[in-house]
């Protein structure tokens, strides 16, 4: 069989629980050796999609092939070419890291020697050599995730599913995870990643599909999406309310927003530092005092606001994005 250039193809994928339609016709294609990020808020259908693609869950309609195999009728063939890292570390708490790796290798149907060799390699690569002989119960959250990812790579599967691999990790562990994922990319794997973080999709993926309410509502490269969403915004807080009108006249830019009560002005930047210096210079020349300024990158909320005209529904998502803004912008 000639292999298609797509490692993962989902056509009109549907799934409902009782009367609730969770997936309402999802279409996805992931080219071999590339990464697609499935971006969306909680409850959008990300995990359901991944679970179906990884043969953990049956679907009600549509077709799904992974590496050319049908997930329904050739589940075991699919299972031998995929690796899965879920939201919750799927590791055995009472076994050591090494024992976990060897056991999963054997259950992947690698022989004993290959399993042990891979276990040693992976402990080394994931910085778990010292922890390898300890039971997993004693591991930190970040270590568990690393072990979990290591386990899903034990048989060097060409196709990897990463379901929110950094949710709940502290910033340092998140960066370490990103680093590992980037290396997997350069090793030639095909990856489907789900995430709530625009920044994560932007950093890692070749293409992004935005999912909401069980449907893909936009697809494209990070740049394409960002163009639809809008640019980085500059937000200014003025010292004096009475400078407001002066400021309005001086600043030029797209989509200016004002809030007199809060003394804030928000303006889209065209990306360059030049534009920023120009605005600040002109304000200064006009004698407008600026109390604080901050830069805001487009967030998942902005994506949703643009694509659906509403905020992303999940509260948690909003909180997380606030955190990202804080990290990303203030000076």
């Amino acid at each position: 069989m000639a292999k298609s250039s797509y490692a993962i193809v989902a056509k009109d994928l549907r799934k409902s629980y009782g009367k609730v339609d969770v997936l309402k016709g999802v279409n996805l294609k992931v080219e071999r050796g590339t990464m697609l990020a499935l971006l969306g808020p909680n409850g959008a259908g990300k995990t359901t999609t991944v679970r179906i693609l990884a043969t953990l869950l049956g679907h009600d309609g549509g077709t799904v092939t992974v590496d050319g195999y049908d997930v329904k009728t050739e589940a075991n063939a699919v299972r031998s070419v995929i690796g899965l890292t879920g939201q919750y570390a799927a590791v055995d708490e009472l076994l050591t890291g090494y024992e976990n790796l060897v056991m999963m290798g054997r259950l992947y149907h690698l022989n004993k020697d290959a399993s042990k060799r891979r276990a040693d390699e992976l402990l080394e690569q994931f910085d778990l050599v010292k922890a390898g002989s300890r039971v997993v119960k004693t591991y930190s959250g970040g270590m568990r995730r690393r072990l979990d990812l290591a386990i899903s790579l034990i048989a060097t599967p060409p196709i990897i599913f990463l379901d929110e691999p950094t949710t709940g990790l502290d910033p340092r562990s998140r960066l370490a995870m990103w680093d590992i994922i980037k290396r997997l990319m350069s090793a030639g794997a095909t990856i489907l990643l789900t995430t709530q973080y625009l920044e994560e999709a932007d950093q890692l993926a070749d293409k992004i599909a935005v999912i909401d309410g069980g449907k893909i509502i936009a697809e494209g490269t990070a740049d394409e999406l960002k163009q639809r969403v809008g640019k980085e915004r500059l937000e200014l807080v003025l010292i004096r309310e009475k400078d407001f009108d002066k400021a309005k006249k001086v600043i030029d830019g797209d989509g200016m927003k004002f809030d007199a009560a809060k003394r804030t002005i928000s303006v889209a930047l065209d990306g360059g530092a030049k534009h920023l210096t120009k605005i600040l210079g002109e304000l200064d020349a006009a004698g407008v005092g600026v109390e604080t300024l901050s830069l805001h990158k487009p967030t998942l909320d902005d994506v949703f606001l643009t694509l659906t005209g509403r905020q992303s529904s999940a509260e948690e998502t909003n909180d997380e994005d606030e955190d990202n803004k804080d990290k990303g912008g203030k000076k």
């Binding site: 679970r51 990884a54 043969t55 953990l56 869950l57 049956g58 075991n76 063939a77 299972r79 031998s80 070419v81 995929i82 690796g83 899965l84 879920g86 939201q87 919750y88 570390a89 799927a90 590791v91 055995d92 708490e93 009472l94 076994l95 024992e99 056991m103 999963m104 054997r106 259950l107 992947y108 149907h109 690698l110 022989n111 290959a114 891979r118 390699e121 080394e124 690569q125 994931f126 910085d127 039971v135 386990i151 790579l153 048989a155 060097t156 599967p157 060409p158 370490a176 680093d179 590992i180 290396r183 997997l184 090793a187 030639g188 794997a189 095909t190």
Partner: protein
């Protein structure tokens, strides 16, 4: 951190028959469940100390107040307490299965090209091993406190067979409880409600003729009493009657129902 020297698809699974892998998967998961015994303190305590405590409790605290005809109380007690320990020990399977289903590890097993019901086999076989150790400990303690069996080699072998058959049947039943109960608390409650009356309203600790008529009728005819009486007949030479036959019928019957049911429940649970 060393470089991730990962070449996608560079390691291939071995090509073997389906039967070979079903066996291999089962062995690996049995190994996993056996390791669990040594890794968790409460399981170790349950295996070694609980039987000793029960034995001493009934031998020295309650035993003096209980009359038994035809044999000393300690001889009467040991077969009963062996079966009770096995019955309660089997609930470890329920807890193990319930734990696996609640945590993410079941997703991992499901995403592998393995026989996923080998997870159940692993827990059940580990139960047999754990119960063998418990039984040996209990018989040794029994011997120390005055247990004097009359069994020869053949009777001992048969007694071991009955004990294992009973443990096997109860472990599979317990696997079903683990899937139905949904939480560990549920498992504990379930097994208490099921096993407590079955083991105490039986001939395990007292002779049924001392009970009220209705209870006596239940205690005489329920499966656990048959199994205990069969064990007594083998170990201390009380009359066998149809106890051995009834024990085998009950256990095999239970297995014929519970193994397929457990497998079906497991598949249903893991494909939701």
């Amino acid at each position: 951190m060393a470089d991730v020297t990962f070449e996608a698809g560079s390691i291939q699974a071995e090509k073997r028959s389906r039967g070979f892998w079903a066996f291999s998967d089962s062995m690996i998961l049995i190994g996993r469940s056996l390791r669990h015994i040594f890794r968790s303190m409460d399981q170790l305590l349950a295996v070694v100390f609980q039987p000793i405590m029960f034995m001493l409790l009934f031998r020295y605290v309650f035993g003096g107040a209980i009359e038994t005809q035809g044999s000393s109380y300690v001889n009467f007690l040991v077969p009963g307490i062996l079966i009770q320990t096995a019955a309660f020990g089997a609930t470890t399977t329920a807890i193990g299965v319930c734990n696996d289903l609640q945590r993410g590890i079941i997703d991992r097993f499901k995403s592998l090209p393995m026989l996923s019901s080998a997870v159940l086999t692993g827990h059940v076989v580990a139960d047999l091993a754990r119960n063998t150790v418990s039984s040996v400990v209990m018989i040794l303690v029994g011997l120390i406190v005055g247990f004097r069996p009359t069994a020869g080699v053949a009777e001992w072998a048969a007694a071991f067979g009955v004990l294992m058959l009973f443990t096997l049947a109860f472990s599979w039943l317990s696997a079903i409880l683990g899937m139905v109960a949904k939480t560990i608390e549920g498992v504990q409650w379930f097994s208490f409600v099921l096993i407590f009356p079955l083991t105490f309203a039986s001939s395990a600790f007292v002779q049924p003729q001392t009970m009220p008529a209705a209870l006596e009728a239940f205690a005489r005819n329920q499966p656990i009493s048959h199994i205990i009486e069969a064990l007594r007949a083998l170990l201390i030479g009380t009359p066998m009657g149809d106890h051995l036959l009834m024990s085998v019928v009950w256990c095999v019957g239970l297995l014929v129902v519970s193994v397929p049911l457990a497998g079906w429940l497991f598949r249903r649970h893991t494909s939701k």
